[in-house]
């Protein structure tokens, strides 16, 4: 009996939480649309293809991809990114070489090829779209912090 009451109370609690989250204007993917209507899908933005590098917000930031990568295969069979960005390919492609840190294992021992843990490029490197930010960005560049002091 007691456990039954506890579970009922828990369910009511979650429901109340859900209702309050919905009514206090929390941004959801459904944009507050009633459950039986299908809201319009958000507009899809075009991927930037300018080949112009973006500034990194901090030195360790993985550089963003300044071009389209549609259908670029990264699998156990092939890595399309490396066919331009691998050390041996940069002469022909004139693309920036994959950073030297990618040619090291986790103990900083140098390797001949890209380390397996760095193989999946788009885990860190992503394309950019020219879209208004979804949430306000409060990031301040470290240079600006130093200047302010």
């Amino acid at each position: 009996m007691r456990s039954f009451l506890i579970s009922i109370a828990t369910i009511i609690g979650f429901l109340a939480l859900g209702v309050s989250a919905y009514s206090d204007g929390t941004a959801t993917l459904r944009q507050g649309a009633p459950i039986l209507t299908e809201p319009d899908a958000p507009k899809m933005n075009k991927v930037e293809n300018k080949d112009v590098k973006r500034v990194r917000n901090y030195p360790e930031q993985p550089p963003t991809i300044p071009h389209k990568v549609r259908s670029y295969e990264i699998s156990t069979n092939a890595n399309k990114c490396l066919s331009c960005h691998a050390r041996t390919r940069t002469g022909e492609s004139q693309a920036p070489m994959v950073s030297v840190t990618h040619y090291m294992d986790r103990d900083n021992q140098v390797l001949a090829t890209v380390s397996p843990r760095r193989y999946f490029c788009n885990q860190c490197h992503v394309t950019q779209v020219d879209a208004p930010p979804l949430v306000e960005n409060e990031f301040i560049d470290v240079e600006n912090i130093i200047k302010a002091e």
Binding site: N49, K50, D51, H67, K68, R70, S71, E73, S75, T76, N77, A78, N79, K80, L82, S83, A86, T88, R89, E92, S93, Q94, A95, T113, V114
Partner: protein, 203 residues
């Protein structure tokens, strides 16, 4: 034991002896016009059948094509794009020029053999053979200077100012100079790739 062979031989002799003599009852007009009509019908039938085997519906009617390469084609730009112009299987895989087409169709008899004996009738078998099969297509396109790409993508109509900088540079440096052909860089644009170890230009 020899009777069916003797019978057949007898028939062949009869046909030859009759075909070898001038027509006794048929006029030359009938033979000429009849021959012409029969020729038109044969040629028409031949070409119709040829074109029937040159459609995407025909290709994907085999599950080997429908379940593997065709599914992979669908998300790529050669199937789905902003203008709705698309390439179907024969656009890239069968030469458009007649003699080359017939040569390729004759080669394809090997593929009928493969179908009959189930060389790639499971996904696993297909993946195991994929490097070899893809290699055939790369070799063919390399040998004919990517002719099937160029049926649509002509260098004279290619406006490199409308391309991204890196694409323009690459095309100017390698394509327009004839140093490389389309397939050298654009492998795996319409289908997934096999294990690319050892393929030139891949890491």
């Amino acid at each position: 034991m020899l009777t069916p062979f003797k019978k057949l031989w007898g028939m062949a002799c009869w046909i030859w002896s009759h075909g070898n003599r001038p027509a006794k009852h048929l006029s030359i007009g009938f033979l000429t016009i009849g021959g012409f009509v029969a020729g038109v019908m044969f040629w028409g039938g031949f070409n119709t059948t040829l074109e029937l085997t040159n459609t995407e519906e025909f290709c994907v009617s085999c599950h080997e094509m429908g379940d593997n390469v065709f599914v992979e084609l669908k998300p790529t730009i050669h199937y789905s794009n902003r203008s709705g112009v698309r390439a179907s299987c024969p656009d890239c895989h069968v030469p458009h020029n007649w003699t080359d087409k017939i040569a390729r169709k004759m080669q394809a008899s090997k593929e009928v053999w493969g179908k009959l004996f189930g060389t790639i009738n499971t996904r696993e078998k297909f993946l195991a053979e994929r490097r070899r099969l893809a290699g055939h297509e790369w070799d063919r396109l390399k040998a004919n200077n990517s002719l099937e790409c160029r049926n649509c993508h002509s260098t004279t109509s290619m406006d490199i100012t409308a391309q991204s900088t890196r694409a323009a540079t690459a095309h100017q440096t390698y394509l327009f100079t004839g140093e490389k052909t389309c397939i050298d860089c654009h492998k795996g644009i319409a289908h997934e790739l096999p294990d690319m170890t050892g393929v030139e230009g891949w890491k």
